[in-house]
Amino acid sequence: MTMARATTSTRRWMQGASTPLRGALLGLALERPGHGGDLASRLVARLGDTWRIDTNDVYRLLDQLVADGLLDAHEEPRRENRRRTRMVYRPTDQAESAMTAWMETLLPREPVRLGLHAKLAVARDQDAPRLLVALLEYERECLRLAQLVAPESGTQQRSWAALVMDCTRDAVWGQLQTDIDWAARTRRRINERMPVQSR
């Protein structure tokens, strides 16, 4: 069974906050078609645990790519039990050019919307101790996320796949490092203003 396929321009699908994930899924399907679970696990392996990808979201995003005419979804028999089927996603003829268009497009910078920013923006004097605790916990969370990033392989021969994986890791570490520095700096600023007796 083939799901309905909508024709689309190569750029129209690049709308909405989930575009990076849909783009990554399209890239993975172009590398090798797969069923939802396979694509989801490859996505997590490629982007890392810090993206906190929900498998249910992956199925929704795959459906969007099918609706956009970039993937075809076919029911195919399972390898381990031929009587049972599962949906396998394959790139359509438009997928390759859509992927190229995505690579060429500068996506808008995602808004910086850290929950702590909002708290800071409206914090009252008496909230300072609570903010210090929240900032410290945020710093700890950043350290934990940094631990989740798989280390580089460090092998002598660098394949293209290894290079782009290392660059992805580097982006995550860079962001977490910046956040840790910001949390520490903000704690210091609040501490410098806080009288000793209220800490």
Binding site: D125, Q147, E152, N191, S198
Partner: protein, 253 residues
């Protein structure tokens, strides 16, 4: 189990003009055998001071630093030197000081000191350590001052490992200019620590240099934040209130 290294409520201050600055304040953590602990911090946050305290090169003003359960402060200077030449290795990656004209293998062998080894035995062990970090016997005969920055770092690691330490302290491994060399060096550190069941404490300004750490900590304002809840004290720096802050706290304002 007694940890290899433990800091208990450690504080350190340094004079700064007419006053004192607190570099470390109530710092507590442990490094167990076979564990990799990474400490991230910006410049002048006290991470190198923490490492020198761990090596017994400096003494804390408050609290206790222990190696295998024994307080470093209770050791004599000679005992601490012996410790640094044996069970504990300190590697400051920016600190490269070979003797003039010394070969690589002799530079590594020299760190073995006069532990009853013949020169031949010391060189043999040095070559083994160089091999361990991926440097060939050929590069062992080269003058130490002719090496690239990446090779120097590897030789420093060989120099640290040749004494078969139980704990390796590494100050700023992110000195290599080539990113590929860095990645390989980080992997080598992790693998060697794991294979030898060594404790590993690495401090760096780059969190990527601490990849694969079992425990990750950050340091700022003299205090630690850690992925480990247990055993970590995160005190808020205690300073006298500024006059403006004190005024704003007066009743009725």
């Amino acid at each position: 189990m007694t940890p290899l290294l433990s800091f208990a409520n450690v504080g350190k201050r340094f004079p700064d003009g007419g006053r004192e600055i607190t570099v470390l304040d109530g710092v507590s953590f442990e490094v167990q055998r076979g564990t990799f602990v990474g400490l991230y911090g910006g410049r002048r946050t006290g991470k190198s001071t923490l490492l020198r305290l761990a090596a017994g090169i400096e003494a804390p003003d408050t609290g206790t630093v222990r190696f295998q359960g024994r307080a470093l402060i209770e050791m004599t200077g000679a005992q601490r030197v012996r410790l640094l030449r044996g069970a504990l290795a300190f590697m400051a990656c920016g600190d490269w000081r070979p003797n003039l004209g010394e070969s690589v293998v002799d530079h590594v062998a020299m760190s073995l000191g006069s532990d009853g080894l013949t020169v031949r035995d010391a060189r043999r062990r040095a070559l083994g350590a160089l091999d361990l970090v991926g440097l060939s016997a050929t590069s062992g005969s080269e003058p130490a001052d002719s090496l690239s920055l990446s090779e120097r770092t590897l030789v420093m690691l060989a120099r640290a490992l040749v004494r078969e330490p139980g704990l390796l302290l590494v100050d700023e491994p992110a000195v290599m200019p080539n990113l590929g060399d860095r990645g390989r060096f980080y992997r080598l550190l992790r693998e060697l620590a794991s294979e030898r069941a060594m404790g590993l404490l690495v401090v760096s300004e780059e969190i990527g240099a601490l990849q694969g750490a079992d425990v990750l900590m950050s340091i700022s304002d003299g205090s630690l934040c850690s992925t480990e809840e247990q055993g970590t004290v995160v005190p808020l720096p205690r300073r006298a209130p500024s006059p403006a802050a004190a005024r704003s706290e007066r009743p009725g304002r």
